[in-house]
Subunit: 211 residues, 2 copies
DNA sequence: ATTGAACTGTGACCATTATCACAAGTTCTT
DNA sequence: AAGAACTTGTGATAATGGTCACAGTTCAAT
């Protein structure tokens, strides 16, 4: 796929400005990353900002002792606001980004960020919106963590993942899910069994189906 | 205090542009709100954006059944990004904002937001930064909620509040704290006693001192 | 000074979640 | 086909936090 075309198709809000299209087409580069590639490391500087065209990226917060929590996914049409801010401020990232499903991204060099912010209100609105969306997601997570039990949190997670995949089937081991939710494998296994008993899911090896 | 003066003193990042100073001085209004005033309601539209000059505002997420969690405080030099976004998008707020300590704010009518975004890269950077700061705070909260117990969460909360107050003494009842942390009074009472036994705080009626 | 309201302390009990221990099933490799 | 590595199931136990019940304290107002 050609870059201008990809841009127009997946970033209509930005592509409403034809000068912006030209700009991004000039200095942006289409790039592919395989599943499991770490594209954002804690404590490292950011050189490029990804605009996701296809696939899925997951963003984690890491803990000192190696544990982690999934914060949110970045899907086509979205960008990584942590990268944008780390780029603007020349600071290190404080979260981890990993490719969940092979992605196609438009990479923007960080030194173009100032031009974009200065010249394109569309860009600024897009970034505002991106921040706002992820902010809402994380706030919702705080709410769930505060008021719901693990079973509900797990079920929410499965529904959201199924929605992103556009498939009722989730291919993950119990251990992987435990890692993403910051829990332990045994707990997740038991809760999944409970969900199965209550007719909410059906289970098979590395395969969970939403009913 | 005069508005231009307040603006220059508390918003140096914005005041670096003298045209922006003139703009905000023209359409901004200095206003005072008493403690406990609700300045942002869930499910209502936003008409003005506050730039906080003095005092403290707290932002909550509410639950269906009346429970709530404190998300973060807004202190002098900061603005309410939820209001900014609700204003830009003409949408309803999805959090609650209450005055924690009497505040002085510069109020900006929401219909000026587009001009600000279009004409002032400083404004855009300021909003990016505001989003980024609160985003980090909420992400940190997710981390604490996932990996720490209530005792640690409570102690963190006390330290943060003391820091904002610039005082080692926190004037809050156990019930108020329980509400802000989405817990129950008995649990908070017991944990505070435990912290007292371990020499971290000393307790008196509606008064907690960090040691 | 007395009363009423708000605040705090604490025992008892239960639900949820974490951890340890181990068994059993599945898939992959050689 | 055998073994290794990964995956899932489940009992036992302990820690954490929420709920109920009730007693004792402090404060403010009449």
């Amino acid at each position: 796929m050609e870059i201008t075309e990809a841009f127009k198709e997946y970033f209509p809000q930005l592509a409403s400005s034809s000068i912006l299209i030209n700009n991004i087409s000039n200095f942006g580069v289409l790039h592919h990353f395989d599943k499991n590639t770490v594209i954002l490391k804690e404590e490292t500087y950011v050189k490029v900002i990804p605009l996701v065209v296809s696939g899925l990226i997951k963003i984690y917060k890491e803990e000192e002792n190696g544990h982690e929590v999934l914060l949110y996914y970045i899907k086509p049409g979205e960008t990584c606001i942590v990268s944008v801010m780390a780029g603007e401020k020349n600071e290190k990232a404080n979260v981890k980004g990993v490719v969940e499903e092979d992605v196609e991204v438009i990479l923007i060099p960080k030194n173009k960020l100032y031009d974009l912010r200065k010249n394109f209100p569309e860009w600024n609105l897009y970034i505002f919106n991106s921040f706002n969306d992820k902010f809402d997601e994380v706030i919702d997570m705080v709410k769930v963590l505060t008021f719901s039990n693990k079973e509900k949190r797990l079920y929410n997670f499965l529904l959201k993942k199924a929605d992103l995949n556009e498939s009722k089937i989730i291919h993950k081991s119990h251990q992987e899910i435990a890692n993403e939710l910051g829990s332990s494998r045994e707990v997740i296994s038991r809760l999944l069994k409970k969900l199965e008993k209550n007719g909410k899911v059906s289970l098979a090896l590395k395969k969970i189906k939403i009913l």
